[in-house]
Every structure is written in C-alpha cells, then in structure tokens.
Symmetry: C2
Subunit: 141 residues, 2 copies
C-alpha cells in the first residue's frame, strides 16, 4: 500500500466492532448512563435500541447539563431522567462501504463516528486514534 | 509547502493560544471545575497555578469518579473537594519548539497536548482537530 493508496482503503479494517463498544440502551435512566460512562472511562457512547440500531449519543456533558439547577446540581433527579431525553441525535455516522479519506474528513469535527449499514444497524465505531495511527504509518513513506 | 515538508513545520502556528483555552485554577473546588466543564462543553481542561504554570488536567470523568459512592453519586461532597485532589498529572505536554510530526505522534494517544516552554509556562494547546485538518490539507497533494 503506497502512501496515497491507503486513502482509498475501505474503513472496514479500521473499525472497532460493536461488541467492543461500550453503549447504553434507550429506556435506561440517565443515572445508569452516567455510571456506564464513569466506569468505562469514555466521555461519550452510543445509545442503541433493542435491535442494535443506532438512536443517539450520550455524554457526561449532556447529563450534567440536564441537571444544572439554579443553585446546585440536581443529582437526585438522575434516576427519573431517561437517556432518551438527554441524548444527541442524529449521530455522526459513516456507512460501512465508505473509504478512509471520507473517515478522515468527518473525524475533523467528531472524535468518533458510528459505522452503520443500509438498515441503520450499528456495526462499530471509527475513532480519531485509529485514523491518526494510520496517517502516521503511511505519511513517512 | 510540499506534503512532506509540513511534517517538519513548527507547531507554533497550529497552537490554540492560552487566552482561548478554558481552564481552572489550583485551589478551585471540584464543583467549580464541574461547572466550568459543563458550561464550556469541554470534557477535559488544564489546571493552572496563579503564575499560569501547568499543574494538571481535570475532566468530568475524574470528578464523577471521585464521588461515586456505594449506593448513590455523592454530589453533596463536590464543594469540599479540591480540583488538586482529582486532577491528573503529569500532563501530556509538548515543547513549543517541537515539530508537527512530534505533535502527530503524541496525539495518537491524547486528544490534546499542552504546549509549554522551558519555564513550564502554559502557552496553549495542540488538538487532534487542528492536526487532522492539516493532514487532510497536505495529504492530497
Ligand atoms: N480505556 C482507554 N484506553 C486507552 N485510551 C483511552 C481509553 N479511554 C480513552 N482513551 C484515549 O482518550 C481519547 C478520548 O477518549 P474519549 O472517551 O473522550 O472519546 C472516545 C469515546 O467517546 C469513543 N470511544 C472510543 N473507544 C470506545 C469504546 N470501546 N466504546 C465506546 N466508546 C468509545 O470514541 C472517542 C474517541 O476515542 P479515541 O480512541 O480516538 O481517543 C481516546 C483515546 O486516545
Ligand atoms: N465548543 C466546541 N466547538 C466546536 N467543536 C467542539 C467544541 N467542543 C468540542 N468540540 C469538538 O469535539 C471534540 C472533542 O472535544 P472534547 O471537549 O472532548 O476534548 C477537547 C478538550 O478537552 C480540549 N480542548 C479543545 N479546545 C479547548 C479550549 N478552547 N479550551 C479548553 N480545552 C479545549 O481538547 C480536546 C480535543 O479538542 P478537539 O478540537 O480536537 O476536538 C473537539 C472538537 O472537534
């Protein structure tokens, strides 16, 4: 692979597959989502439905924002808030058949992209880290 | 600038200078830090001392982690915890005289780097977004 050809490579081999991606489900509470985020250490994760279709993204940011009261952070409300109410959608996505250069372009403005197929099934994620690693590898040739 | 020369460019022109960087100060409470993070929308920011020297990094992650009690998130403790107790140090840094390719290399494992001089003065940050933008620009030539 020459240093220009890799731009036309399929993103498939660079994807972190869905079973390795921390996520939460629609219907979960914001409290549960905050625990998943804190324990996994990720700042933002996908929200999926029971068919593993992509429904949104949730971050610690969005959760804290939702409970920022006038004089204190209203953590007592967390169990009563659904992740559906705080998540962001649509989600920055990329189709499984796209090429590396499209991934690079979209990752300028997003730390990661959710990879989907024609049925909107969540296949995995493409991250800035993986793309930067590839760029470093090919750029010196 | 040819597509190989840009790797040897100084990082200086790619830095977001310190006055544009959201940060907190040593001695601030974790509650104040959480408010700064939530309001600015950044997941992680530098912690500086009164002489603008770099002392650590603080993220929403680190704060929530510190108050994860056995059966509920202990938000009432936030005003009593100092950012000094939860911040991470040392900080991923890069010297002002380094080149773009060094920045690319370090940003594989860190979303941003703090730029410092010989006196450990905080000069600004170098982010993945800026580096990806440059890579896209030069890689097609
Ligand atoms: N457990 C860990 N081990 C090693 N390094 C870690 C790590 N957690 C975070 N990092 C480092 O910090 C960067 C930012 O992570 P963040 O959680 O804010 O942002 C992450 C997170 O929101 C999401 N992400 C990455 N891997 C994930 C996974 N397995 N499950 C769910 N979300 C993931 O994609 C964003 C960008 O990830 P990226 O790898 O480019 O960049 C990561 C990686 O370089
Ligand atoms: N207000 C905003 N406007 C437009 N896009 C925004 C934004 N806030 C976040 N983003 C986008 O989300 C990415 C991750 O932001 P995060 O806050 O997790 O992670 C950020 C944050 O921890 C830090 N950072 C960036 N700019 C900062 C600033 N002005 N002050 C303090 N920290 C900053 O560097 C990390 C990487 O930033 P990067 O630009 O590569 O990547 C940013 C950017 O692409």
């Amino acid at each position: 692979v020459t240093s220009r050809d890799f731009l036309d490579m399929q993103i498939e081999e660079f994807i972190i597959s869905s079973e390795k991606v921390a996520h939460v489900q629609v219907g979960n509470s914001a409290e549960h989502a905050l625990l998943v985020l804190t324990k996994t250490g990720y700042s933002s994760v996908p929200v999926l439905d029971f068919k593993y279709r992509l429904k949104g993204l949730v971050s610690t940011q969005m959760i804290t924002d939702a409970i920022l009261g006038l004089d204190h952070i209203e953590y007592e409300r967390l169990p009563d808030i659904k992740v559906d109410d705080v998540m962001q959608s649509p989600v920055p996505t990329i189709h499984i058949n796209e090429k590396f250069k499209k991934g690079l372009d979209l990752l300028i403005n997003h730390p990661f992209l959710c990879v989907v197929d024609d049925e909107e099934t969540f296949i995995g994620i493409l991250t800035r880290r993986v793309v930067l690693k590839q760029l470093k590898k090919h750029i010196y040739q």
